[in-house]
Amino acid sequence: MDVIIFLVFALIAVVAAINVVVQRHPISSAISLVAVMGSLAVLYLLLGAEFIAAAQVIVYAGAIMVLFVFVIMLLNAGGETKAGRSITASLLGVPVLVALLALLAFFTARIYPPDTEVRFGGFRGGTAAAVGRALFTTYLLPFEITSILILIAIVGAIVLARKELE
């Protein structure tokens, strides 16, 4: 059952991720990315990270990606134009990517032998209570700093996006 769930959602994630890359119009990419995020949320649940799964859906899919969709709709700029001038990217891109994937896979295979296994319910430390407790004790300082970061981001976004005052 776990394996089936994993395979189904991993497949969705990979297909959707490919779709993100190959779709010509950004809105299709955005929707595919939402699909990736949704399936990842399921995988998070499988790994016992229920709070993160919920946050993934609410924050990533529900807020960040909505923002993307919103901007895409607002600009309504249409599909991608073919005006590529990057010789480096076209020459080096594919080999580099293949190498990257191969190396990462090699790494994973070397470090994590197949006997380490995941089953649903194998980790129960990912509840909202556990995450919250860690967040407000051990990681209080980073947490507070991120609040400042967010504030800065808000101010920055407003300054960037507002109309110039004469």
């Binding site: 480096t88 990217a89 580099v96 070397r110 470090i111």
Partner: protein
């Protein structure tokens, strides 16, 4: 006892006024500036009250400031009787001058800036006085120098003021060089900067080294306390506002050198040659400055040279082993010299900024309060019997007589000169016919007069009320000499003679000075031009340094060598960059590809280096 509170209060005043004073009303600035200093004064009183008779040294350690190998320097404060005298003088006179400044600075720009700097000065001065080791003294020492520079150049839109500030700062640096060398030697010999630690080991130290340390310390003191050969900055420092002249350049900062030498008395008592040097420098300065003072026409310049001269007296006392007499004179001098400056400030204030005595005269009836307080101060500085100056000056002259008769006679002669030039200034200002342009000289406001009256009372009675030598007897070695009435009488007589002569020349027979000046033209010109010392320094020191810097350092080393190296590096970098520029296509996707390639390389290196 929370000694730290004493300097911190003015610092708080400085921070508040310095940061927010621009938006404050003058009343608010006054509240913080004066309130902080008065509170510091009260805290000093409370502390001293709490410490009682203060037989020894009371020390407080706050934190270790510098810890490096064998070197361990704490932020330490300590109080003994010497410090107590200095604390009372600094905070007491400081409070009075702050109050006076309300009236004096009322119509000046940069009001909050003035008070902020004044508070900062108080902080550093109190740090200097409270310090329990040489390095903390040095912090205060440099800090008061900085504040002196800032306040001399307070009217920064006037070139002579900024020049005077620079001069004071640079000349002080020369003295600080000596002080620094002395500190290096102290650390090398004693392995510590703490007073208690150093002084305990002094008897075992070689005399030659102690002499060197003593002379170098004295060199530092020469800079700060305006002694020959570094006295030239002090007269120029009168470019600052008059309260600054009174507080920093008469009552407190310039006496820091005296305080420091007195504080280091253990070193000096073991280095008699250094003592002699101090005494000779002191008497020479006292005499030379007094003679220059004879011919000055600017009222503040007269008192500036008078300050130099009086500081010379203090060093004479210290050099003769009468440390307590030096401190005694330091205190009384703080009373009457502050009063002289503040009084002259009141005169200047009443004449709308006129400083030339030739344009004064006859002010006795127009500004009577100022007249009376100035009379008190003039009598005190002249050593008129029973005034403050009489006691302290006689204490010094007695010590000098004990040391060497010629020192006594030179000192007495200088005392006569002092009385003469001070009363010359006094008579030129208050007697005779009014020669000025300002139509309506007016009396100063009460807020200025009140501190004057307090200081006048202190100038008259302060010497008798506060018998500093008795108070300090437990600290300094018994260099007591029996009071010889004849010597005291002669010294007082010299003062009275000087006053009489001044009366004769400037009130009774006003023609005499001109005839003397024309009779002894060369001598007069020499004195009037301050022995051409500034010009000599300019030719001997400043010009060679400037020219050397220009030709050798700028054209030679800087342009040729350093710029050559820098430009060479730049040219190489440009060459390499020209090749690398091809990578910088300005295309974000290319950059991304390079980043990805870098990531791949990192992973390859990790694998090549072996996992884990």
């Amino acid at each position: 006892m929370q000694l730290w509170l004493i300097p911190i209060l003015p610092l708080a005043g400085f921070l508040i006024n310095g940061l927010f004073g621009r938006r404050f009303s003058k009343g608010l600035v006054n509240t913080f500036a004066i309130g902080s200093v008065v509170l510091a004064f009260l805290w000093v009183l409370k502390t001293l009250w709490g410490l009682g008779a203060l037989p020894g040294t009371y020390a407080e350690h706050y934190f270790t400031w510098i810890q490096s190998g064998a070197l361990s320097i704490g932020a330490d404060f300590s109080v003994d009787r010497l410090t107590a005298v200095m604390l009372l003088v600094v905070t007491g006179i400081g409070s009075l001058i702050h109050v006076y400044s309300i009236g004096y600075m009322a119509h000046e720009g940069g009001y909050y800036r003035f008070f902020a700097f004044l508070n900062l000065f108080m902080f550093f001065m109190l740090t200097l006085v409270l310090a329990a080791n040489y390095l903390v003294v040095f912090v205060g020492w440099e800090g008061v120098g900085l504040c002196s520079y800032l306040l001399i150049g307070f009217y920064f839109d006037k070139k002579f003021a900024t020049d005077a500030g620079n001069k004071a700062f640079i000349v002080n640096r020369i003295g600080d060089f000596g002080f620094s060398l002395a500190m290096f030697l102290i650390f090398r010999q004693f392995g510590s900067f703490d007073f208690a630690h150093v002084f305990a080991q002094v008897p075992a130290a070689p005399v030659g080294l102690l002499t060197l340390i003593g002379i170098l310390l004295m060199f530092g003191a020469c800079g700060k306390s305006a002694q020959i050969p570094l006295y030239i900055w002090l007269p120029d420092a009168m470019a600052g506002p008059t309260p600054v002249s009174a507080l920093i350049h008469a009552a407190t900062m310039v006496t820091a050198g005296v305080y420091m030498t007195a504080r280091s008395w253990v070193i000096y008592t073991h280095a008699p040659i250094a003592m002699d040097v101090i005494a000779y420098i002191g008497i020479a300065t006292a005499f030379v400055a007094a003679t220059i003072g004879l011919a000055q026409n600017d009222i503040k310049k007269v008192f500036a040279y008078s300050t130099v001269s009086q500081l010379g007296y203090m060093f004479l006392g210290v050099g003769c082993g009468a440390f307590s007499a030096g401190i005694y004179h330091l205190m009384t001098h703080a009373f009457f010299k502050a009063l002289l400056f503040l009084g002259s400030g009141a005169v200047i204030h009443s004449l709308a900024g006129e400083q030339d005595m030739r344009k004064m005269g006859g002010l006795r009836t127009r500004i009577p309060w100022t007249f009376w307080v100035m009379l008190c101060a003039s009598l005190a500085i002249s050593g008129f019997p029973l005034t403050a100056g009489y006691w302290s000056k006689d204490a010094i002259l007695l010590a000098a007589a004990h040391r060497a008769p010629w020192l006594y006679w030179a000192g007495t002669f200088t005392a006569g000169l002092t009385a003469f030039y001070v009363f010359r200034a006094f008579f030129m200002t208050f007697f005779g016919r009014y020669r000025g342009e300002e139509k309506h000289p007016h009396e100063s406001p009460p807020v200025m007069l009140a501190p004057l009256v307090v200081l006048a009372a202190l100038s008259l009675a302060g010497g008798y009320l506060f018998k500093v030598p008795d108070f300090l007897r437990s600290i300094f070695p018994a260099a007591e000499v029996p009071e010889e009435f004849s010597l005291m009488a002669v010294a007082s007589a010299a003062g009275l003679l000087g006053i009489a002569l001044a009366y004769l020349m400037y009130v009774a027979r006003p023609g005499i000075p001109d005839s003397i000046a024309s009779g002894a033209k060369g001598l007069y010109a020499l004195i009037y031009n301050k022995y051409f010392v500034d010009e000599i320094y300019d030719a001997a020191v400043v010009k060679p340094v400037v020219n050397g810097s220009r030709v050798l350092l700028w054209k030679g080393a800087d342009v040729g060598l350093i710029d050559g190296i820098v430009n060479g590096i730049g040219a190489r970098a440009k060459g390499v960059g020209g090749v690398l520029r091809l990578v910088q296509s300005g295309n974000a996707r290319s950059y991304a590809t390079w980043v990805a390639l870098g990531g791949v390389l990192v992973i390859v290196l990790m694998i090549a280096g072996g996992l884990r």
